[in-house]
Symmetry: C2
Amino acid sequence: MFLAMNRFRIARGFEDGFEKVWRERESHLQGVPGFQSFALLKGPQREDHTLYASHSVWASRAAFEAWTESEAFRRAHAQASAPKGTYLGHPELETFEAVLSE
Amino acid sequence: MFLAMNRFRIARGFEDGFEKVWRERESHLQGVPGFQSFALLKGPQREDHTLYASHSVWASRAAFEAWTESEAFRRAHAQASAPKGTYLGHPELETFEAVLSE
């Protein structure tokens, strides 16, 4: 199991607009080699933001990396973006590999 | 989908000992109501630590919270701990609920 999580700090009050962009977007993920599952996750609320994370599971790091260089990736990221003021800072990508699972 | 991730900053050089504790531990998770899956994930290496995360998926927040108050939780957490010097700071628990999934 290989997991890619992109962490987004969304300014308080901008959560609905951020979720709307994701709901309306075409992910172009189905059929991508090695793609297993995707979720947009809503995390803890903090003083000035709500943490969100995109959570995608892949067969391997190589499959994830191939997708980031693909036309499907480019198309998915060329769509409408969230309103100005939505993001506190850049998203932070963290990738993980399973050491143990059950 | 409800996800609980506990983030551990493990001092460089202590990774093997930390993983060994997890490998040898009895999780007592099988059969817990609402439990879906568990993984120990190894994340990015940073200057002074490697990020790990325990990643557990539950049917609902209520199922996760009931587990944290259960005898199974107490037993899982009463086992051997990692060597002194392993942890940089306390683990940080983050919980997430799925807004979208595919």
